[in-house]
Symmetry: C2
Subunit: 108 residues, 2 copies
């Protein structure tokens, strides 16, 4: 038997979770929304839509896009975007460790 979980941030509505975290991390690695979307088995349009929606809900920009257009150019995380990704990464690791420990204590 093993434990599974899903964790996300919301404020009335869903703001940030595993999907967006992975997408932003891929964009950070690849410098391209297009390549990151492919990696995540999404269309460019889907990826862009999710980012725009999250930016609206968060009230800050997650990405800056460089010349060549959103698809052709490049994209990188803003300072706030990077901080959110880093905080979520650390949060996730802390939660993951705590859940494994609690599982071992109660079901191990």
């Amino acid at each position: 038997m093993q434990v599974r979980y899903k964790i996300w941030l919301e404020e009335g509505e869903h703001i940030f979770g595993e999907g967006l975290f992975s997408l932003l991390r891929e964009i950070d690695r690849r410098g391209s929304i297009n390549q990151a979307a492919q990696e995540m088995h999404m269309s460019y349009r889907q990826a862009w839509g999710r980012i725009k929606k999250a930016e609206e809900r968060l009230g800050f920009r997650l990405l800056t896009t460089r010349i060549g257009g959103e698809a052709g150019g490049g994209a990188e995380l803003t300072r706030e975007g990077r901080r959110l990704v880093e905080n979520f990464h650390r949060f996730r690791e802390e939660v993951d460790r705590a859940i494994r420990e609690a599982f071992a204590r109660n079901f191990g």
Copy 2:
């Protein structure tokens, strides 16, 4: 912004989570599958089906039912059922506390 999560136990397939936990706790309180199902806005049949499926997957009985038939008589947790509910309860509380603390550290 607040954190939300879902947590469950599985072994290849879903075994035990929030829904079954609440249902069994209601049965324990009320001594009746029927009343517990009503409280959970489920039909008796749904409640019974979920319990049977979980029992199959867990490999032990969760409930004993008393004379009068499954609906008319009464139901109570088996020793193993009670232990599972108690362990899940404690597990959930530990996880909940850890998630709140990790959230405060990283997003507070």
